[in-house]
């Protein structure tokens, strides 16, 4: 060692060295740096793409779900300029604990805020924001802001004169909640909970509870769809894997057909087939299985959702199963049979366990897709076949309560991640074969 350091000064005192005296590790790193750089350049576009289209939106989604600052700042839609609003009122909230009866100072702050809103044309936004938490109050803001210039002291009287609903403690609690930039209220709403006048967390009235029910229904229907696709897909995949190539190719085309059909065509054909005056019912009536007045409602309800989604998602179970079954040699089952197992035992103990990675992959894939599907249930699900994703879409497109949509979506995401984790614990994620 001492000799080596002497002959190659400046080199690391320990570790192997190259023939010309450089440390081996450094030489290796240098020789590989070029290849590594090149590899990085190759994946860089994908990395950027994933960051832009996946990581950023999910980050945005998460931040949206805890924040809707429309009560705090006004964004001018044409210039993008941000103006803080309701400053005085928010200060009043800070100075006074929850449940404080709003005094003249509070109403004066409110009047100042409304006047500013009238100028900015921001009363609609603020009204919408507060309306999420205190329904039916949107018009208070639009109405009162229109008359903000005429408001004079004493402000309490003047404002209550415009509409006495301003005295509603629910409204004040809602404004107090909206004064902080970050809130868990959207998550509460997504779990059918809300805050009462004193800021305590309570369940919403029973006739308004919908999200938990839909989460549950989504989970149940997704499990049902997953099981159905497995039961239907397993024999098909087995046939695909064991038939001679020319037949299996034909069968494969049939399996993939749903992929290649446009959504509109598919939906129309479901309607033609499944509606109560449709082909399937006609056939059943013709065959005398059901009476003309006993036609089965197979569309615009849960059954429609299950049938249609099973149809769409079937390839997602068949393909992983097929890819797992294809390399399973017939000799395994033969070996089991020769060792004394009946064909059922051979299937159960030798064939089936070897398809578990495919079953797992297919089931996970179908379940996750089913949980997030919304177009199909919207089209054929009627009212009882709606899933949680339909409400997310509703809040994205119709009510524009994006924060609630984000909260619901985040909960869904969390649910899927939990499932993924469970799968990893139970089966092992490396035991997953997608094809």
């Amino acid at each position: 060692m001492a000799d080596m350091t002497a002959t190659s000064p400046g080199a690391a005192p320990q570790g192997l060295q190259t023939a010309d005296g450089r440390p081996l590790k450094a030489a290796l790193a240098a020789s590989q740096a070029r290849a590594k750089r090149r590899a990085f350049y190759l994946v860089a576009p994908l990395l950027a793409f994933v960051l832009l289209t996946f990581v950023l939106p999910i980050g945005q989604l998460l931040s949206r779900s805890v924040s809707d600052p429309r009560f705090i700042e006004n964004v001018d839609r044409s210039s993008g300029e941000v103006t803080p609003i309701m400053v005085e009122l928010r200060d009043w909230f800070k100075a006074n604990p929850p449940g404080t009866e709003p005094d003249e100072a509070a109403y004066q702050a409110l009047a100042q805020g409304l006047a500013q809103l009238a100028e900015l044309r921001g009363q609609g936004d603020v009204g919408t924001r507060i309306n999420y938490e205190a329904p039916g109050t949107r018009s208070l803001f639009t109405k009162t802001a229109r008359r903000a210039d005429d408001l004079e002291a004493p402000f309490k009287e003047a404002i209550l004169d415009v509409d006495e609903d301003w005295a509603d403690p629910v409204l004040w609690q809602a404004m107090r909640d909206a004064s902080s930039r970050y809130t868990i209220n959207f998550y509460l709403a997504a779990l059918d909970m809300t805050r009462d006048v004193d800021g305590n967390i309570v369940n919403v009235p029973e006739d308004r509870q919908v999200y938990l029910l839909l989460f549950k229904r989504t989970a149940i229907l997704s499990v049902l769809i997953t099981v159905t696709t497995l039961v239907l897909g397993f024999p098909v995949a087995y046939l695909l894997a064991t038939l001679p190539l020319r037949y299996s190719n034909l069968l494969m085309i049939l399996v993939l057909l749903p992929f290649w059909t446009s959504l509109l065509v598919r939906t129309t054909s479901w309607m033609v087939l499944l509606q109560s005056q449709g082909v399937v019912n006609d056939l059943l009536v013709w065959a005398g299985i059901i009476g003309d007045d006993g036609r089965i409602q197979m569309i615009y309800n849960q059954m429609g959702t299950v049938i249609a989604m099973t149809h769409i998602l079937l390839p997602f179970t068949v393909l992983p199963l097929y890819s797992v079954m294809r390399p399973i040699k017939p000799s395994y089952v033969r070996a089991a049979r020769s060792l004394g197992a009946t064909s059922w035992t051979a299937f159960r103990r030798v064939y089936l366990p070897q398809t578990v990675p495919g079953i797992g992959a297919g089931a996970l894939l179908v379940f996750i897709l089913a949980v997030g599907y919304y177009i199909t249930p919207a089209l054929v699900g009627g009212s009882s076949g709606q899933l949680i994703s339909n409400l997310i879409a509703f809040h994205m497109q119709n009510s524009l309560n994006w924060s609630l949509a984000a909260a619901l979506a985040s909960l869904l995401l969390a649910g899927v991640l939990v499932l993924y984790w469970l799968y990893d614990r139970l089966v092992g994620i490396d035991n997953l074969k997608l094809g």
Binding site: S331, Y332, A336, G340, T342
Partner: protein
């Protein structure tokens, strides 16, 4: 079981897959208990089909297959009690070695204690006792082979079928395993039907070899007979290396035939499988029975003129390709003994052999 009752019997068995052609044509075969019989033949000769019919994975189209005197045509595979070793071992990848061995015992409803004893004994038998908790994927090819063997034997079947079990191993390991299987066969007293397309494997291991071609058994005989006394040109050609000289029967005198080669020379040969005088024949001579040194060619031997075309040094052997009687592919093998002469291309020599080594067979 009556001692004289054959363990396995094929009685006029035929098999067709498509209803148009026969893969197995009129197979008749009887195996006594304890025999090691090899089915040898090129691929497509029907040997594997025969094995599969015996195992129960294929059904005979016609004829009877009997196991210990009992017809088994309609008995499902799992009730036949036959052990089987597959070409690629077919060890269950999701089970450990012990679980693989336990499987046939479990389906037979044996209790845990019995199973463990039997598994241990079977693993020890193939010297794999330490590997009980491994998965097949963690084992080498040779180790997997041993486990497959142990699994086929663990439930103590009387008959074990082996379908090219050593095909995936390298040469050295294969030879080693050949001896081990042979050894197990002898020590356990089981009956073995072994399928291979490797003739040296067949010769090394078997009591008798059935050479298959074209759906028929061409010859069923002990290895020595097969090599030394092939019944027809196919067997002569398939087993070991072989020189063929084509000609016509000039005269036939009991066991001895005189053959006029197409190049004009006249040679004597042992008549085995030929028609009468005037019919075509192939005379077969093993390369190692050919001599070129004057001092070794003895009285009464046939001699022919030859031209050396190629000389190959093979270590233990010298392989010389010659042009003889118009044939360019006549091979002569000489042992690399002290003082052995090395021929060079272009050299002309006189070669000869003992008349008993030349066998006049059917023309192909």
């Amino acid at each position: 079981m009556d001692v004289t009752t054959p363990m396995v019997e094929f009685d006029r068995v035929q098999k067709s897959y498509d209803g148009e052609s026969l893969v197995v044509k009129d197979l008749n075969l009887a195996m006594p208990k304890g025999e090691f019989l090899t089915m040898l033949g090129p691929s497509g000769s029907g040997k594997t089909t025969c094995l599969m019919m015996l195992a129960g994975f294929e059904t005979a189209t016609n004829g009877e297959i009997r196991l210990a005197g009992k017809e088994i045509n309609h008995i499902p595979p799992h009730k036949r009690g036959i052990g089987m070793v597959f070409q690629n071992y077919a060890l269950f990848p999701h089970m450990t070695v012990a679980e693989n061995l336990s499987f046939p015992l479990e389906v037979r409803g044996m209790d845990r204690g019995t199973r463990e004893t039997k598994i241990k004994r079977a693993l020890d038998m193939v010297q794999m006792g330490k590997f009980a908790s491994r998965r097949p994927a963690q084992l080498s090819g040779g180790q997997q082979q041993r486990i497959a063997l142990a699994r086929a034997l663990v439930f103590e079947p009387d008959l074990v079928l082996m379908d090219e079990p050593l095909g995936a191993l390298d040469k050295q390991l294969r030879e080693h395993m050949q001896f081990e299987i042979k050894h197990l066969h002898e020590s356990l007293g089981i009956t073995v039907v072994y399928v291979t397309h490797d003739q040296s494997e067949a010769l090394t291991m078997s009591d008798r070899v059935a050479v298959f071609n074209d759906g028929k058994i061409q010859q069923l005989a002990p290895p020595e007979d097969l090599y030394e006394r092939p019944d027809n040109s196919f067997v002569a050609q398939f087993i070991g290396e072989n020189n063929k000289l084509s000609g016509k029967i000039e005269a036939l005198d009991g066991e001895t035939a005189t053959v006029r080669l197409h190049s004009g020379e006249l040679i004597g040969a042992t008549a085995v499988n030929i028609g009468g005088a005037g019919s075509e024949t192939l005379v077969s001579i093993r390369p190692e029975r050919v001599e070129f040194r004057h001092d070794r060619i003895q009285e009464g031997w046939h001699t022919l003129d030859a031209e050396v075309l190629e000389f190959i040094y093979m270590g233990d052997l010298f392989r010389t390709r010659l042009r003889v009687a118009g044939h360019d592919d006549f091979v002569m093998k000489c042992r690399n003994i002290q003082g052995q002469e090395r021929l060079s291309p272009g050299q002309r020599v006189k070669i000869g052999w003992h008349p008993a080594d030349a066998r006049a067979l059917d023309p192909v």
